[in-house]
Symmetry: C2
C-alpha cells in the first residue's frame, strides 16, 4: 500500500465518528510498520480517547520504529485526554504523516513541533483537502465560534414546501426522509421557525439506530410556542427557544419546563446573532429545517454554509402554496442565487441537490 492509501484508510475511519464526536473533530489514525498495518483507530465519541490512542495501543510495543498516519495534527495540550503528540513520542514512533493541520489556536503547529523536537520525521498536507472537507464543521466552529449552518428542505418540483393550508406530509419519499434522520444525527442542532413548530409540532429527533438527538432550536420572537408542544415537553434539556428580550416576562414557564431561553434584541433576529448565541452553547452545527421565512433570511444574509435540498417529482402548481424561499427581487436570471459545489444524490424517485459555500 502507498502513503495515499493509508491516509485514505485513516480518513474512512475518521468518518465513522460523524455525528458522535461534535463539537470535536473526526479523526482517524493508522500505524504501519514494514508495510503492515499494526494499529488503527478513530475518535469515537465526544470526550473519548483520541484516534491515535486506539491505534497506538493496538500496535503496542511494535509501534517502536513505526509510521503513524493521522488525519489531523496530533494534539499537544492537556484537554479531556493527555496530549497525543506525547504518546506518539513515548511509543517510539519514527515518522508521522499528517493530513490537516489543526485550526484550533490551542494546538496549531505545536503538536508537530513537539514531535519534530523529539526527532520524529513529520510530513504534512497528505490528502489535506479531503481531510479539511471532512472536518468543515469543526474548522468553521473552531475559527469563528459560530455553528456550521446546513440547510435541509424538501420541495416539490415547483419549489413548494407546503400547500396553502400547510399540508406538507409527505413531499419526499421514505428513502429521502431516512437520510434526513441521518443528518439530524450528523449535525448537533436543528433549527426551525415558530410557525413550523406550531403547524407541525415536530419531535425533531434522530430516528435511526444509535442516532443522537440534536439540540432543538426554535426561533420564536412572539412566544407562540405552545407549552404542550413536543419541543417544550422534551426532558433531555436539548430544547432552546430564541425569543425577543421583550418576551422576558413570559419566559418563566418555559424555563421551568427545562427549555433553555436565549433573548435577542428586536423581533427580526439576524442569523449572525442567532449563530453567535448558539455557538456559545458549544453547538458546532445546525441543520436549518425551515420554514420559508427563516430559510429566506438565511439566504439573504448568505449565512448558509451548505445544504441538501430534496426534490420530489410532484407539482402543486398553486401560486398560494408555500415556497421554500421568498422575498427576493430579481430582474435578471444572472442576479439569482447560484448554489455552489453542487452534487446530486438519488433517493429512489426523489433527488437531492447538495451544495456548499466552500
Amino acid at each position: 500500500m502507498k502513503i495515499l492509501e493509508y491516509m485514505q484508510l485513516a480518513l474512512s475511519l475518521a468518518e465513522k465518528g460523524r455525528g458522535s464526536v461534535n463539537p470535536n473533530p473526526m479523526v482517524g489514525a493508522v500505524v504501519v510498520k514494514d508495510e503492515k498495518i499494526i494499529g488503527t483507530g478513530y475518535h469515537r465519541y465526544f470526550g473519548g480517547p483520541h484516534a491515535e490512542v486506539y491505534a497506538l495501543d493496538e500496535a503496542g510495543s511494535d509501534a517502536q520504529g513505526a509510521t503513524i498516519y493521522v488525519t489531523l495534527e496530533p494534539c499537544s495540550h492537556y484537554g479531556k485526554t493527555p496530549p497525543c503528540a506525547e504518546k506518539i513520542i513515548a511509543m517510539g514512533i519514527k515518522k508521522c504523516i499528517v493530513a490537516s493541520l489543526d485550526p484550533n489556536p490551542l494546538v496549531a503547529g505545536r503538536g508537530i513541533e513537539m514531535m519534530q523536537d523529539a526527532g520524529i520525521e513529520v510530513e504534512t498536507g497528505i490528502l489535506k483537502d479531503k481531510a479539511d472537507k471532512l472536518n468543515e464543521i469543526f474548522m468553521k466552529y473552531i475559527t469563528t465560534k459560530k455553528p456550521f449552518l446546513f440547510l435541509k428542505c424538501a420541495i416539490t418540483l415547483d419549489g413548494k414546501i407546503a400547500t396553502k393550508t400547510g399540508s406538507s406530509k409527505w413531499i419526499t419519499n421514505a428513502i429521502a426522509r431516512k437520510r434526513v434522520q441521518e443528518l439530524r444525527h450528523n449535525l448537533m442542532g436543528i433549527m426551525i421557525g415558530a410557525n413550523t413548530l406550531v403547524a407541525d409540532n415536530p419531535s425533531l429527533t434522530a430516528r435511526i439506530n444509535g442516532g443522537i438527538d440534536p439540540f432543538r432550536i426554535v426561533i420564536d420572537p412572539d412566544m407562540v410556542t405552545p407549552l404542550d408542544s413536543k419541543f417544550v415537553s422534551a426532558t433531555d434539556g436539548k430544547s432552546i427557544l430564541i425569543t425577543s428580550v421583550e418576551q422576558k416576562p413570559f419566559t418563566q414557564k418555559y424555563l421551568e419546563k427545562g427549555v433553555k431561553v436565549i433573548l435577542l434584541q428586536g423581533r427580526e433576529f439576524s442569523l449572525e446573532d442567532i449563530l453567535t448565541e448558539v455557538g456559545k452553547l458549544k453547538i458546532d452545527s445546525i441543520m436549518l429545517e425551515g420554514g420559508s421565512h427563516l430559510i429566506s433570511k438565511a439566504f439573504t444574509e448568505d449565512a448558509i454554509d451548505g445544504g441538501e435540498i430534496f426534490i420530489a417529482p410532484k407539482i402543486l402548481g398553486d401560486r398560494e402554496a408555500i415556497p421554500f424561499i421568498d422575498g427576493f427581487n430579481i430582474h435578471n436570471i444572472s442576479d439569482g442565487i447560484e448554489l455552489k459545489n453542487t452534487k446530486f444524490n438519488i433517493y429512489g424517485d426523489n433527488i437531492s441537490v447538495e451544495f456548499y459555500k466552500n
Copy 2:
C-alpha cells in the same frame, strides 16, 4: 449470442433512426445464420427503405434458411416501399422473430400471417416492452391520430422559468441546452405560446449536426405574433400558427409569408383540439416548450404524454417570478400532480427529471 441479444442489437439499430423517420416507426433488423450475423439494417429516414431491406440485401443469397430479428412486425402492404413480409419470404428466410406487433390497422397481424402462410416459423413478443417503449410516439399517433406531447422546460430550484421581467437566459447550462437541441431533432414539432414568442423571438431550430428542424407551432388566439419574428420569416414552410376563427380576417399576411394557419373556435383552445388539428398535418410528436399558461393547461387536461424538466441549482426567491406551472388549487400534498415513471439525468451541475404517463 442468444435470442435476446440479437433482438437487443436490432433495437439499438432501430434507435439510430430517432427523429429522422417520423411519423414512421423506428425499426431495426438483424439476419443471423449459423450463429453468425450476416446482415443488419434500420429504418434511416422517412420514406426510405425499411430495416428488413437493408438487412436482407446485406445477407444476399445467404439469407436462404436464415433467421431474421425485427423489432416491429414486417409490413404487408404496398406503401412507399413494397411489403417487407414478401421480401422475407422471397429471400428464403426460415424463421422470423418479432418484438412489437404493428399497431397500424393497415398492417396489424397481416405481415405475420403472410409469412406463416409461406411456411416461415414466426415468434413474437421478444423484448416487446422495450420495442413498444422505443416507438411510443408512433404507437400513440397511429392509434389516436394525435401527436405525442412531450414537455420540455428549464426551471430554477424554486420552479421558475423566468424572472418577473421575462429574463430567462440562461437558466440551464450548455450541456442541458445541447440535450434540448437533440430533443428538437427527435420530435417532429415544437409548440410555444405567443407570449413566449413575443418575449424571446426564438428560432426554434435543432442546432445539432444533421439535426432536422421541427415544425414550429405557436398558439396565438389574439394574433400578436410579429410579422418580423423569426417564426414568420422562416422559409421552410414549417411554421404553424394556431389562432381563433375570429382572427380570420387578419391571417392573410401570415399566409403570404408561408405560415400555415389553423383556426379554432373560441379563445381558450383545448390541447385536445390543438393535438387533433396538428395530427392532421402528419406531425406525430410535439415538444411543448412553454410558457407557463400553455404548460399549466396541458397539465390540467392531462394531455402530457411525457417530458423532461431541467433543473438548475439557481434560486430566484421572488414571488413575482414566472412559475412553470400555475392555476391549480391544492389543499393536500396528496392532491398535487405526481409525475410517473420518472428517471433522472445529470448534465454537469444541472439535472433533469424525465417522466412518462405510460
